[in-house]
């Protein structure tokens, strides 16, 4: 790397929203990328460190994060990992680097909801919970139905949906972890405002904010959430199952989504960063689910494939105090990243399915992952397959997604995919031609 390029630290760990290749490519001719890795992560991921060292500079740090980061002489700092957001916020504030928010802990879900409430952006009630007794008090304040979840992180695990008094009574017997929780009023579910039944009632927005000015680069629809069954701490683990670009929102809802996102980012005092905001949508309005202080997972690559600008590169520019080039996706077709879930999380993969079999499914342009026979289902984040699908237009996208999901379910019949209620949520719209049977949906 040239000594004249600025040094950009990336607080990195596996499963970040940007991988090693994304980082290396975004930094080319722009900055010296310094991968900053915690000692315990480096010990657990020797391959990542070895490859990182072959490509760029890697610095392994211990527990005194602010002092060790200060010693690296960085011109900017960025992270794409949820677990590093708090350390990142503290460091950029201490070091006087771009990216700091004015408020403390804006990614703590309780703090965030209260900031959104105070700004008039959200009406969802919430209360802290740190014990079984505290849950009863919080439920009296928030009301039921409600969601009990950790205040930090976005792993969509350790969630409990408390729909009535029976759930409230049963929760102390089910839950092991009681520290750092928040009880939030459950946002009412609704149909997707387009009327397309295969789309979930929430969207995500990727936003580039430079000096407090927000540019919303893309809005993604989602395929329906799947909820893991069974007992234990993962019994209500929510699994996202797919992103759809572009979103199929009526203009008034689309405008409301963008306006609400801008208001939420203002409330959280976001000035220089890429962020990922999730919102519930209906014909009647928009409500913030949560704001993440980093790029969303998977979505940067999809935006790039559809002709939009590179958001990892934009995040680098922001971290270095530069105005990034931002361009929205331009391609007219519809890109879907579909992750077909296992209905049961525990145990090994029973079916034997090859990438070739998945690659041959209609509309599939890339196979990112296929769960291997005998491997733990956890190895693929509880997904049987993860694929990219391109549909020529919005009308063709639903039948195509349904066909791929149905055929994947057949391939993984030994793992019970065919009986997963999630498949029923991909129902066709009335009168829509069925790609699978040639008939029509009723």
């Amino acid at each position: 790397m040239s000594g004249t390029l600025p040094r950009l630290g990336v607080l990195h760990a596996p499963h970040a929203a940007a991988n090693l290749r994304d980082l290396v490519l975004a930094g080319r001719d722009r900055c010296e990328v310094v991968l900053v890795v915690r000692r315990e992560v480096a010990a657990a991921e020797p391959d990542m460190v070895r490859l990182g060292r072959a490509l760029t500079t890697v610095e392994v740090i211990g527990d005194d994060v602010p002092r060790e980061l200060a010693a690296l002489g960085l011109d900017g700092l960025v992270t794409f990992h949820d677990a590093e957001l708090e350390a990142y916020d503290a460091a950029v504030r201490d070091l006087g680097l771009p990216g700091a928010t004015e408020v403390d802990h804006p990614w703590d879900k309780l703090v965030q909801r209260r900031l959104l409430n105070a700004a008039g952006v959200s009406t969802v009630r919430s209360a802290p919970v740190d014990s079984p007794e505290g849950l009863v008090a919080a439920a009296a304040e928030v009301g039921l139905p409600a969601v009990l979840k950790p205040r930090r992180g976005t792993a969509s695990t350790d969630l409990s949906f408390l729909t009535g008094p029976a759930d409230l009574e049963a929760e102390p017997g089910r839950r092991e972890n009681w520290s750092g929780l928040v009880l939030e009023q459950m946002i009412e579910r609704a149909a997707h405002p387009s009327g397309r039944r295969w789309l979930a009632d929430y969207v995500s927005v990727e936003t580039v904010t430079h000096q407090g000015e927000h540019t919303h680069v893309a809005v993604f629809d989602k395929t329906p959430l799947a909820v893991a069954g069974g007992d234990g701490p993962c019994r209500h683990a929510v699994r996202e199952t797919g992103d759809v670009l572009p979103a199929q929102l009526p203009p008034h809802v689309y405008e409301a989504v963008l306006a609400t996102t801008s208001a939420a980012l203002d409330a959280l005092t976001v000035r220089d960063r890429v962020s990922h905001t999730e919102l519930r949508v209906s014909q009647d309005g928009v409500e913030v689910i949560e704001v993440n202080g980093r790029l969303g997972g998977e979505v940067a690559g999809m935006i790039g494939m559809m002709g939009g600008s590179g958001l990892v590169r934009a995040a680098f520019d922001l971290a270095l105090g530069r105005r990034p080039e931002v361009a929205a996706p331009t391609r007219p077709d519809v890109l879907i990243s579909l992750y077909v879930p296992f209905p049961e999380r525990s145990g090994p993969v029973r079916a034997t399915v090859t990438r070739t079999q998945v690659r041959e499914l209609p509309g599939v342009v890339r196979v990112d992952e296929v769960a291997r026979h005998g491997a733990a289902r956890a190895d693929t984040a509880f997904h049987a397959v993860k694929v990219l699908i391109i549909a020529p237009d919005a009308d063709a996208a639903g039948p195509l997604v349904r066909t791929v999901a149905t055929r994947v379910a057949r391939l993984f019949e030994a793992d019970g995919l065919g009986a997963d209620p999630w498949l029923d949520q991909l129902a066709g719209d009335p009168g829509e031609p069925s790609a699978e049977t040639g008939g029509t949906t009723t």
Binding site: R21, V24, L25, L55, R355, T356, R359
Partner: protein, 94 residues
């Protein structure tokens, strides 16, 4: 230690191409890749490429050109770079 399964006498380009292509296909569970195919666009990730790099290094007895894999990412670029390293290691011309 170089791979005993590669016939002696083949050019370094042939041997590098054979080994890299074979390990590419093994990593991505595919057949008949094109030189223009990009490892990551074909569904590869950091874990799969780390495994592929290990296997190619063991079979060819070279240090894999990691930067080519990550920055260019195509099969053609990887085979060409591996052939150059193999030629250097053996004191021949790729």
């Amino acid at each position: 230690m170089q791979d005993k399964h590669i016939p002696v006498g083949r050019t370094v380009v042939d041997r590098a191409t054979a080994v890299v292509t074979e390990e590419w296909c093994r990593a991505l569970d595919m057949t008949d890749p094109s030189p223009d195919d990009d490892f990551f666009q074909a569904g590869g990730n950091s874990l799969l490429i780390a495994t592929m790099i290990d296997r190619v290094e063991q079979r060819l007895g070279i240090l894999f050109p990691v930067e080519v894999a990550f920055i260019d990412g195509t099969l053609g670029a990887m085979t060409e770079a591996c052939a150059e390293r193999l030629a250097t290691a053996e004191g021949t011309t790729a």
